[in-house]
Amino acid sequence: MKYQLEIQNITKSYGDLKANDDISLSIKPASIHALLGENGAGKSTLVKVIYGSLQADSGQMQWCGEGYSPKSPFEAREQGIAMVFQHFSLFESLTVAENIILGLDDIGLDTDFTEQIIKYSKQYGLDINPQQVVGDLSVGARQRVEIIRCLMQNPKLLIMDEPTSVLTPQEVTDLFITLRKLAEDGCAILYISHKLEEVRQLCSEATILRGGQLVQNCNPQDHNKQELAEMMIGKKLVQLARSNITTGQDIFSINNLSRKSEDMFGVDLHDISLTIKQGSIVGIAGVAGNGQDELMELLIGEVEAPADSLIFKGEDVGRLNPHQRRQLSMFFIPEERLGHGAVPDMGLHENMLLSRPQKSEMTNYGVINWQNVEKLTQQVIDDFKVQTQSSKMLAKSLSGGNLQKFMVGRELIQNPELLIVSQPTWGVDAGSENNIHQSLIALADQGSAILIISQDLDEILTLCEQVHVLSEGSLSAAVDMEDNGLEKISNLMVGSEKQ
C-alpha cells in the first residue's frame, strides 16, 4: 500500500537534547492520524520537520512514495501540506482576509476573495468576518482564521496542532464534520491533540510520543481514555473529584457590574452579579468573545470598576490596581500567557518576582533577595513539574503548557484567598491538565475561593459546583446542575449565537 506520508527513523537534536529520537510513522491517504504526547514529547519538532521549518539530522521521509525533504515551508506547501500552528502565526494589524491571502502563494490581491472566505466559513461552520482586524479577535476566532487559511490551500495533508483547545463543544462537533468531510475528499489529517476523547472519536490511527521517543503506533479506538493517557505520560493518572465541599462565608461579590466597551469590536457587559463563598469553585462558561476579556480586565484591575461593584472581604476593590488587589490576597492568572501573564523576554525567576505583593520574602526594603527568588522559583518548577533547563530560562522559550504550569504554580504558592483564572488549561496536555486541576481542587479544599472563566466545558463541569454562563456580555444566574444541567448550559451558550 502506498502511504501519503512515510517517516522513517527521524532524529533531531538540539545540543544534548534529542527532541526526536528515531521516530517512524506512516500516514495513510485520506486518514485522520493522531499524534499524541505531552508537552516536550517532540510533537512540535516532528511536525516542523514535516512542514520544512526544520531539517532532520538523520532519517528519511516519503511523500506519495517519493523521496521528500523540504527545505522550507514553501516547498511543503507546494506539495500540498498545510498547517495550523499552535502559537498563532497571524498578523494582528491586518484584516482576516489579508491574513488569509498571506498564507496562499498563488493568490494576488486583485482576486476578490472575501466571498470565497465567507463561502468556506459557512461551509465549515467557522464563523468569521473577513474585514475584521485580527488584533480585535478573541483567541477562538483567531484559530478559526488559521483553520480557514489552511483549508483554502486545498491541502493533501493538513497538520493541526491542538485545534480544538479553544472551541466550544458545538464548534468542535462542527469542526469534526469538516475534518471528516475533508478526509472523505482525500485529504489526510495529522491531528495533534491531548484531548483523548476527541482523538478516540475522530482518529483511526494514533502515534504516541514520550520524551522524544516513539511509544506506540496504535488504533486509539482499541484503548480507553485512561489507557491512552497513561501511555502518553508513562504513569497512572489521579482521578479527580471534590469529595467533601465545605463552603464558608461570602468572600467576593460582583454587584450589577456594567461596562461599555471602548473598542468597536468589544463586548459591553450588562449588569453582572455573582457571589463566591470561601472554599467554593465557581465557573463562568461561554464562547470566547462574549465579554470574557472585558470582564477579566475589570476583575484584574487593568480597568477600574464602578464604585461598590467589586467587593472582596467587605472592601470595595473596584478602584484598586492589580498590585493593590494582590496585597489583599486576590490573585490572577490571565488568559494570554505571553505579554499579559508573563514578560516574554524575562527569565522565570524575574517573572516570579514581578507578580509578588510588596511584603514578601523576596525583597528586603526594596532590595531584591535573589537567593530567595531563585529558591521559590525552583520550588514552583519542582512542585508543578515545569520542564525547563533552569529557573533563568526566558518565559517565551517555554512551551505554552509549561509556561501555564509555571504561572498557575506562581500564584498558588501564595495561598490566595481568591484566585481568578481564565482558561487555566488552554493548550496544556493531559498530564499537566490533571496536575493543574488537582492543585486547584487542593486550593479550594483549603478554604480558598476560585473563579474560573473557561471555554472548556469539561473542565468547568469537573471542577465547579456553581456554574454561570456568559453570553453577549450578560451573565446567567447559577445553573441548577441537578436537572438537565448540561443541556441548560449548552442552550445558554448558543442562545446568543442564534439571535
Partner: protein, 309 residues
C-alpha cells in the same frame, strides 16, 4: 495681500515641503517593514552633496539626481548590512549613520562651498502653464515636485494594493509569523532600507539643486529628523505624509514672509517655529489618540529578527 503674493506663498509652501515628502515617504516604507532607520539626516546630506557635485561637474540635472539617489542607497546599504546581517541595534546604528553622513559630506564638500550651479528649471507646458492662477499653481513646478507626490501615491499603491506590499506590512507586524509562513524577512527589509536611502538622497538633492544653488554642510538643517517625526505624525499612512509636510513647509514659509513683513519678533524665534510646531503637533496627536490602541504602528518596529528562532 495681492493675488500674486498668495500664489507665491502657496508655491513656496509646496516647494518647502518636497524634501520632507521624499525623506518621509522613504522612511515610512522602511518603518512599515519593521525597521527604524534614524539615519535619514545623514542619507539626505550625502544625497544633497552628491547631487550638487555631479551637477557642478557635468551640468546634467538627470545625472545629478541619479547620483543623489545612488549615494543615498549606498549609505543606506551600510545600515542594511549592519542591522540586517550583523544584527546590530537599529537606533544606535541609525544615529551613527547620521553622524557619519554629516561628517563625510562636510569633508568631501569642502572644495565646493564657494561654487555655484544652475538650478534645475521648472517645467513649462504650453497653454496649461500659461493659464492664470491654475497654471502657476499646478503646472509650473520643477519635475521633482511632481515626482515627490507621485512617490507617495506609489508607496500607497504598493503597500495596500500589491501582495508584496501586504507581505511587507505583515513582516513589520510579526516577523516571526512571516518567517514561519516562509517569507524572506531580511530580503524585504534590505530592499525597503535601500528604497528609503534612495528617497532620502533625492530629498537631499532637492535642497541643493532646486531650493538653493549652493553647497552648505548644514543645509539639511534637521529635515531628516522632521521627516522621521512626520512618519509618526502620519500614523504610517502615506497620504498623511503630504499633509504633515505641507504644514511644516507652510510654517517655514510663513516665518520667512513674517520676517519680510517686518514682524517685530527676532528672527531666531521665528526660525524655531517649524520645529516647535512639529513638537506641538506630535504631542497633541498623541493626546487625542491616547485612549486608542495604536494599531498603525508596526509591532516589530526596531526589533531585531533572528532567522534561526
Amino acid at each position: 495681500m495681492n493675488e500674486g503674493l498668495i500664489i507665491a506663498i502657496i508655491i513656496g509652501i509646496s516647494i518647502a515641503s518636497v524634501p520632507l515628502i521624499f525623506a518621509a515617504i522613504g522612511e515610512l516604507l522602511v518603518e512599515r517593514s519593521g525597521v527604524l532607520n534614524l539615519g535619514v539626516e545623514g542619507m539626505m546630506i550625502v544625497g544633497a552633496l552628491a547631487g550638487f557635485v555631479i551637477e557642478f561637474h557635468t551640468g546634467s540635472s538627470f545625472l545629478a539626481v541619479l547620483a543623489a539617489l545612488l549615494a543615498g542607497m549606498a549609505i543606506a546599504s551600510i545600515f542594511a548590512f549592519l542591522t540586517q546581517i550583523l544584527l546590530t541595534n537599529q537606533v544606535a546604528t541609525g544615529l551613527a549613520l547620521t553622524l557619519f553622513g554629516l561628517g563625510i559630506a562636510a569633508f568631501i564638500g569642502r572644495g565646493y562651498s564657494e561654487e555655484n550651479i544652475q538650478l534645475i528649471s521648472a517645467i513649462h507646458i504650453p497653454l496649461l502653464s500659461d493659464f492664470p492662477i491654475v497654471g502657476p499653481l499646478l503646472f509650473s513646478y520643477n519635475p521633482l515636485v511632481y515626482l515627490a507626490f507621485f512617490m507617495v501615491f506609489l508607496v500607497w499603491w504598493f503597500l495596500f494594493k500589491t501582495k508584496q506590499g501586504l507581505t511587507l506590512r505583515a513582516i513589520g507586524d510579526n516577523h516571526d509569523a512571516a518567517h514561519a509562513i516562509g517569507h524572506n524577512v531580511i530580503r524585504y527589509r534590505v530592499l525597503a532600507i535601500l528604497f528609503g536611502g534612495a528617497m532620502a538622497g533625492i530629498g537631499g538633492a532637492f535642497l541643493s539643486l532646486v531650493q538653493v544653488p549652493i553647497w552648505g554642510e548644514d543645509m539639511t538643517a534637521g529635515r531628516g529628523w522632521i521627516a522621521i517625526g512626520l512618519v509618526v505624525f502620519s500614523s504610517w499612512q502615506p497620504f498623511k505624509v503630504i499633509l504633515g509636510a505641507l504644514i511644516f513647509g507652510g510654517i517655514t514659509i510663513l516665518q520667512l514672509h513674517a520676517q519680510g513683513f517686518d514682524v517685530r519678533i527676532s528672527a531666531q524665534y521665528l526660525s524655531m517655529l517649524p520645529y516647535l510646531a512639529t513638537i506641538v503637533i506630535l504631542v497633541s496627536l498623541r493626546m487625542r489618540d491616547k485612549n486608542k490602541t495604536n494599531r498603525t504602528m508596526p509591532n516589530c518596529l526596531g526589533r531585531i529578527f533572528h532567522s534561526t528562532s
